[in-house]
Amino acid sequence: MSNLEFGPIMRALLRNKVGAILIALQIAVTMTIIVNAVFIIVERKAMMERESGLDEANTFYLTTTGFGKDFESKRVTIEDLALIRNTPGVIDAIQVNAIPMSGSGWSMGLATQPGEEIESVGTANYMVDDHALNTYDAELLAGENFSPEDIRFRERNQSDWPDLAIITQALAKSLFPELGIDEVVGKTIYIGDNEAMIIKGIIDKLQAPWVGWNNLDHVTLTPEMMAFPSMRYLIRTEPGMRDKLMTSLEETLANQYPNRIIRNVETITATRDKSYRQHSAMINILTATMILLTLITALGIIGLASFNVNRRRKQIGTRRALGASKQAIIRYFMVENLIISSFGLILGVGLTIGLNFMLIEWFAVKALDWYYIPTGVVLLFVVGQLAAFGPAFRAAQISPALATRTI
């Protein structure tokens, strides 16, 4: 340990502390920002990677809006769906009121008992037919799918609800936390305070349209199609057929019934990208900030170490003359940097925790997982030592003969 010269280096640093303190502060601030930024990035990435339940790579949707007095929405919907479903390469298709992750849709409150005073659980509502599970690629965990007889048409201005529903597993657990999935099937739930619906089935997973919503996995499917002039079709294709069918089906539907506009032909992949665009941007900004800060810190360390080497050329020559090997000179500067970095990192740990408390208080982010701090310490320690190695290596190349030069 005596060869590490901790004591003399510390005492020498205390006599020239300004540069060292500035670098230690820079390391502390860098650690604070990097650790919290990495934590936010990991959280955002986990959020972005949540499964929607859909066969995303092979699913797209389009909006069709009919016009003119002769437009018969029910007939057109039935004919459109028959045409789409019979198109080679299409696995299944449904008419739907909203698209998962798209940012717009319907939501309602569900309760296990009727009454305004009963606390309800929020859910997204998708109005679908008996092809929904196949189109969504959803797995039925309990109960049954809708039958064709269950499906009704919802007219414009109609506000009542069908008496059947299929719900997601997550919603079932929120509504009936004490029951198993099989026990939930057949239970009555109440929508809009007092309209009863019987749970016909439970599916594994499906996401609501709003990616920032706390109840993202709360989804209710009701057996109905909309007799509206404007409607959406969600179409699931065989692998590799999506892009081709996006073009051909748009053309086919337009030819099938010319008095309509077909727009918003979009993949689920694109919808996901749009919905998480802000998160992606934040990740990119934070990543760039982290890289920049790490570079600035590394340059600061290189700068201070280089300055110290240049300032001490004679001293290094003297040390070499007195018996220091090249390794001993490298070790000296590495230990010096280690001491400076250690002070910075100790301060950084405190600041990191402090900033996380502030972020929890102001932006309701989660508390930092414990392992982020030691990881940040190790990372910056390695960056610091790598940055110091170059100047230390150059110092070791100083000739011992410099000791006898008078200039």
């Binding site: 005596s2 060869n3 010269e5 004591g7 003399p8 005492r11 020498a12 006599r15 020239n16 004679k314 001293q315 003297t318 040390r319 070499r320 003359a321 007195l322 018996g323 220091a324 090997s325 090249k326 390794q327 001993a328 000739s399 011992p400 003969a401 000791a403 006898t404 008078t406």
Partner: protein
């Protein structure tokens, strides 16, 4: 203990080759106090650097305690410098950020001595130069003469076989120079071999042998007769 035979040292630039030492043949025996004198640019410092293993010679041979230093690696040369040679520099070369204790400790740490032994040696050597009570002082708090005494203590603490002194009184006034020279003579009398480079003929006369260097070679004709040698004759 130090034997140079036909030793040459040349420096080459793009345009010119300079011969700093030419066919330099020289030896020092155990217990000698040799002064090396000569005008500026004569090769004194080059000789000192080679003798102290601070740089390599170009050709010829140099044996230090029977070891051919040309064959040594950089690490082995460092170790040999640390164990066998003590340096005293013209401008003292103390480390300004370290107190006297830590300054004297520098070569001892490179030797890997135990903490207790290092402490004992530092205290002894600082006491020997009369600065035991100023261990916690910084070099900047001392006079030039005192700083050179610390440098001597640093050299002595390693218990070297021989001391290499480069103009040890060059930056001191005459009173302090006399005191430092007295200390070196005392050290020599206690058995340490000393080779001192100086431009001062008066100092050279106080050593046991003088070598005069001109144009990278020993000039027998200009050798100064030391007082001790003169009184023996």
């Amino acid at each position: 203990m130090l034997k140079m035979n036909n030793l040459c040292k040349s420096f080459r630039t793009e345009l010119v080759e300079t011969h700093a030492l030419r066919n330099f043949t020289f030896s020092v025996d155990e217990g000698d106090f040799v002064s090396v004198t000569g005008p500026s640019g004569s090769g004194k410092t080059t000789f000192l650097n080679i003798a102290g293993l601070l740089e390599n010679h170009t050709s010829g041979s140099y044996l230090l305690d029977g070891i051919d230093v040309k064959t040594l690696s950089d690490k082995q040369r460092s170790q040999l410098r640390n164990e066998k040679i003590g340096f005293i520099f013209q401008s003292f070369n103390l480390i300004p950020d370290l107190n006297l204790f830590d300054n004297v400790d520098v070569p001892l740490r490179y030797r890997g001595l135990s903490r207790a032994e290092r402490h004992q040696r530092i205290e002894e050597s600082l006491a020997r130069v009369g600065l035991a009570n100023r261990m916690k002082h910084l070099p900047s708090q001392l006079s030039g003469g005192q700083q050179q005494r610390v440098a001597i203590a640093r050299a002595l603490a390693g218990k070297p076989r021989f001391l290499l002194a480069d103009e040890p009184t060059g930056n001191l006034d005459s009173q302090m120079a006399k005191s430092v020279m007295g200390l070196l003579q005392e050290i020599n009398q206690q058995g340490t071999t000393i080779v001192m480079v100086t431009h001062d003929p008066e100092l050279a006369m106080q050593t046991s042998r003088n070598v005069f260097v001109r144009d990278g070679q020993i000039s027998e004709a200009e050798t100064i007769m030391p007082l001790a040698a003169a009184s023996n004759q």
